[in-house]
Amino acid sequence: MVSPGLVLDLVERVGALARHGTISVPLGESDPEQASATVAAWCAHTGNQLVEVQGNVATVRKGRPLDPLGELRPDLVPGTRLWMYTNFDCNLACDYCCVRSSPQSARRALGVDRVRQLATEAVEAGVSELILTGGEPFLLPDIDEVVAACTAVLPTTLLTNGMLFRGRRLAALRRMDATRLALQISLDSATPDLHDQHRGHGSWGRAVAGIRLAQAEGFRVRVAATLPYEQNHQLGPFHTFLDSLGVAPEDQVIRALAHRGVADEGIELTLESLIPEVTVTAEGIYWHPVAADHDDQFVTENIFPLRDAIEEVRRRFTELRANATAAAQWFPCA
């Protein structure tokens, strides 16, 4: 038997809360299971949210559950874009690489079969864009097949350092569908110094050559720079240089250096501070591509079904944001 006073307490105490405020209500001497069921039924009846029952105390939030997904810009909703790490090995060993890629890294390739299945399931799951990254994807001998599996179903972007467009790799590039594929080439500065300092001597010149070649082959080219946060306001010369290369302003992407991987410094990116971008590696699903080599942002080893993986990321994001909002409301400063 549940004490009727429990419901009266709920009405009074939850009624006195501000919207989305939270309160803990003792369940009293009632049978805990029955009392929990009563609180849940009352919450459902009155449009409030039972957050949890721990021990003999129920925590109730006023109003309907928060909808962090609904508050996001549509293009930022997790699962709108799908990132795939095609491999982790790289011809460069950049000193800030967020996933510790280098020539010594194990390949850890997703493989064309899994990429094809992912691309197919991505369409069914409502994904609108595919993004392939590494490592350096052009190290894969079948990169053109991997890309074709993606461009066959969705607009695709391929991240590369642009340095390997020769011989069979150039031939592979030419087999890619330039109407469905954009190339995102990394370049950190308008002159070789800064870029080469982080990425290796001579890498700037080859990247710029790669940009020009890709443009000549008819590809849309985005250029992405990775810069320390404090340098992000000194970009005038860099944009001027990219303009001179014919890179459209909307394709000039500046990313802040993240304190991840082998980077000694950079902005701290955590589950709480990142809006997730569903990311697939050979090991499983990660929260965000910037941490696809870090256990703290590992979501699940179950890549398939992809819809379930996306749903799990959304569920965790919703829970994190709702709890953060509730926590903020527990500690008003004035």
């Binding site: 419901v7 009405v11 009074e12 009624g15 501000a18 039924a41 309907r64």
Partner: protein, 270 residues
Amino acid sequence: MSQPLLVGAVAYTPNVVSIWEGMRDYFAETPTEMDFVLFSNYGRQVDALLDGIIDLAWNTNLAWVRTVAQTDGDCRALAMRDTDTVFKTVFVTRAGSNLDGLEALRGRRLALGSKDSAQAAILPVHFLDHSGPGADVVELIRTDSDLGKHGDTGRSELDALRAVLDERADAAAIGINTWEAIGRAELMPGAFEACWESPTYSHCNFTVLPRVPQERTEPWVERLLAMDWDNPEHRPILEMEGLRQWVQPNLDGYGTLFDAVREQGIPPRW
């Protein structure tokens, strides 16, 4: 553009801030913008309406009756919630008490809410007098909590229900909103049952004095009535305020309370 219409409301819970911020946002960037002022009690709010400090008052039924009394009827009701047109008082007893109807309360103890609550004090007495055995043959147990808020907090009604649970009273008179909030008799089987429900009457409305011209209020009311339950941006406001649709006022629904106030000698202002 004219100044925003200034709406007064009583802050009976912190949630009121969210409600009126939502309302203000709904009217923002329209030709009928509004802002709000919160009062600690309906007496102050009605004073502010009469003094021209606010343009509109979101009034309880008792505040409306008092505004009519103090203006000799020279005021208008602009709109109300759909739920305000079908408000009721419910007389609640312990389940299995076999008390059925108002007549069964003769010689019994009835817990009332705050004396300035129309639904939980003033009208219950009126109903006992006109539809039951008379209030003079029922032992009235009054719980005057949150005075000045006209029963909006619901606290006095919950205290009245607790009196029934604690066997300090045989029945409690509460508003239909509180009866709904506790899940009627369904959420707590074996706890409470309704022994009598009153006819419907009107509850809150937006009250305005002639000083504010109709050309200012009419577009505002038009936009208010356009608030749509199926619109996800509007719905949270409607849910918080406890309605599905704003409607034109039903003034006939105040007749019972005018009679009750007159018969019980309730002064025009508290």
